[in-house]
Subunit: 380 residues, 2 copies
């Protein structure tokens, strides 16, 4: 199989190195602005040389960002080429179009690496869907925020200190907004939900709270009560649709989820037959992500199925009033909530929609609020 | 695809129920001694009616035990039928023959459910192997012993009490030997290692210590030192072969592995590219195991690959002198070991082979020894 590579950065070059060792996978052209000695003879600065080359069977898109990644992926699919990408933002922003193209081209679009990096999560979710009813899907889907929360907890740091550490370690961007706002996790739960239930959730209806409000004191308070704090993305089947949200979540310090460390990711799905299945692994990094990309290429080459992305277009309305759990809250009044010390309130079971709305109102009034869902391990 | 089912017990009937809902999977005949109302018209008491029926494409073997499961699986494969089984004991006892048959029949033998129950572990291990070098493989592969150890730790019970609980809950057999001796986990690491490295390890060289020696006092001592005790099976690539063993292992109480609860399983592999990948889920149970069996059937029906079991016959010698780590020991002298209180010694890094040999000698002298490997989370 002849492959054109769009972008030979961290992951792209890793894909090149791994693919080189696989018989019958041949990267023939690479788009990159730089002169990369190992890639001489393959390099081009003109995407058309890849997209319009009839000899190229598959395009690997690792440019990141929405454009030109999106236009080029569309062009490649329309030209009958397969496309493998790790670009969750591009996919999530253009889900309806990409799903239609995926249907039209018979599943030639694959993106295992878009959720969970090296974890074969989406692949297994789709494989599971063939023989099981998916009830819930989600996880710790962003390594940067997990690293920061883990550092805050272990080293007793504040948010800014943890961010600086993450930046120094190369885990956080200079502008960390996409990670710390929960935006990256939101893209990933969007894609996961679409695949789990073969439908089209509206991204704007996903409620999303990042980790920017948690203070050193909040973390200490959670610690004292036996909790770890994790940024969880979750979607669950509800009557007539799904719930879908991202929020900081207090989980028992002695639990699997509470011990996902550093930049590791954990992705889970719960099936009616299989029960709770969790996958942990490197959510990012050159070789782990590249590994997932190359595995998609091998599946394409061997005509394996199990990426039947959105075979039919089904609406999948999001209703976050249907999901409810207790919350820990600081900095805002909540009727009926109980003070548990250290400035924290514990609420009763509350709809996710109601809590996020209350917090938005309080913040509009200038209140500085932190909140975290409470999740006992057995629920997850 | 027309399917004959050998055995409609707990898992077999689950397979029937799940497969019934999958288009193009049709269970046409079922071998079972009992009269099962839902299966009337399909039932037979004569295996030949399934094995000799040219209309049957695939045989699902869920009888358990070595014979007649083994003979019938061989007969089905030789007749050109596909075989799906969850029978780790049968496979492990006949690995060379089954591997040769698998080669001969082009991968028509599948057994995802044989390790980890509902966890798609072997399937993903084989998929990983296509593009990664597997460095290590293993996990908590026996739910019965995990339940017992978890109960001993949480409820402060002794071995016998924990066993009684497990038997009452239906997790342990009346004769629990296969589980508590580590024999079941040994079969599973045997199969996992064969698949990870595409070779043939000699089962007799796998060192195996079960959980029968751990006392309430040992568990309390481990607890006090911040450890949980898990029965871990591990195999790792070594120069010229592999290490491969099963033994109780002290892991940090605050770690992913230390928090695998009740009958849950955790299976892991570590790859040169992908790093550490862990899968957790139900290691047993009707629907979880049946789910894995039916997923194998769907892969067979769709001619998906990724079960290239033992494409070549390669010797895979086991050398447990090549793996080393510290041990916690009670009831035996170990030169150079340090007393750490509560009757426990902490040894330096010791070859696994040496420790298991020392314990065997001490027991031959009548000493009552408990020992556990020490594993920090980052090593796993």
């Amino acid at each position: 199989m002849k492959i054109g590579l769009l972008g030979a950065g961290t992951i792209g070059f890793g894909v090149y190195e791994i693919a080189e060792k696989i018989p019958d996978l041949e990267i023939t052209k690479v788009l990159d602005r730089r002169d990369i000695p190992q890639l001489r003879g393959k390099l081009t600065q003109d995407a058309a040389e890849i997209l319009d080359d009839p000899a190229i069977d598959a395009v690997v898109e690792l440019l990141g960002g929405v454009e030109p990644a999106h236009s080029w992926a569309v062009r490649a699919l329309e030209a009958g080429k397969a496309v493998v990408t790790a670009n969750k933002l591009m996919l999530s922003e253009n889900l309806t179009e990409m799903a239609a193209l995926s249907r039209k081209t018979g599943g030639k679009l694959r993106f295992s690496a878009a959720v969970g990096g090296g974890i074969p999560f989406l692949f297994n979710l789709l494989r599971a869907r063939r023989v099981d009813e998916i009830l819930e899907v989600g996880g710790i889907l962003n390594g940067t925020t997990n690293y920061m929360l883990d550092m805050m907890q272990r080293e007793n740091l504040g948010f800014e200190q943890a961010l600086k550490l993450a930046q120094q370690a190369g885990y956080a961007e200079q502008d960390p907004t996409a990670d710390v706002s929960g935006g990256d996790a939101k893209c990933k739960i969007h894609l996961s939900a679409a695949l789990a239930w073969n439908g089209m959730p509206d991204k704007h209806d996903i409620l999303c709270e990042g980790i920017t409000s948690i203070t050193k004191q909040d973390m200490e308070a959670l610690n004292k009560k036996g909790y770890a704090c994790k940024l969880l993305a979750r979607a669950a089947r509800q009557d007539g649709g799904i719930s879908c949200y991202v929020e900081p979540t207090a989980v028992p310090a002695r639990s699997v989820t509470g011990n996902i460390a550093l930049v590791e990711n954990m992705a889970f799905w719960r099936g009616a037959n299989a029960g709770l299945q969790r996958f942990t692994g490197a959510g990012a990094g050159r070789y782990a992500t590249a590994y997932a990309v190359v595995n998609d290429l091998v599946d394409l080459m061997r005509h394996n199925d199990a990426f039947p992305f959105l075979a039919e277009e089904t609406p999948l309305p999001i209703d976050n009033a249907a999901a409810a759990h207790p919350y820990l809250v600081r900095g805002m009044e909540v009727p009926g909530a109980v003070e548990i010390g250290d400035g924290l309130l514990l609420t009763g079971e509350m709809p996710v929609l109601e809590m996020h709305a209350m917090v938005a109102s309080a913040r509009a009034r200038g209140e500085k609020v932190f909140f975290a869902g409470v999740c006992e391990e057995q629920e997850l």
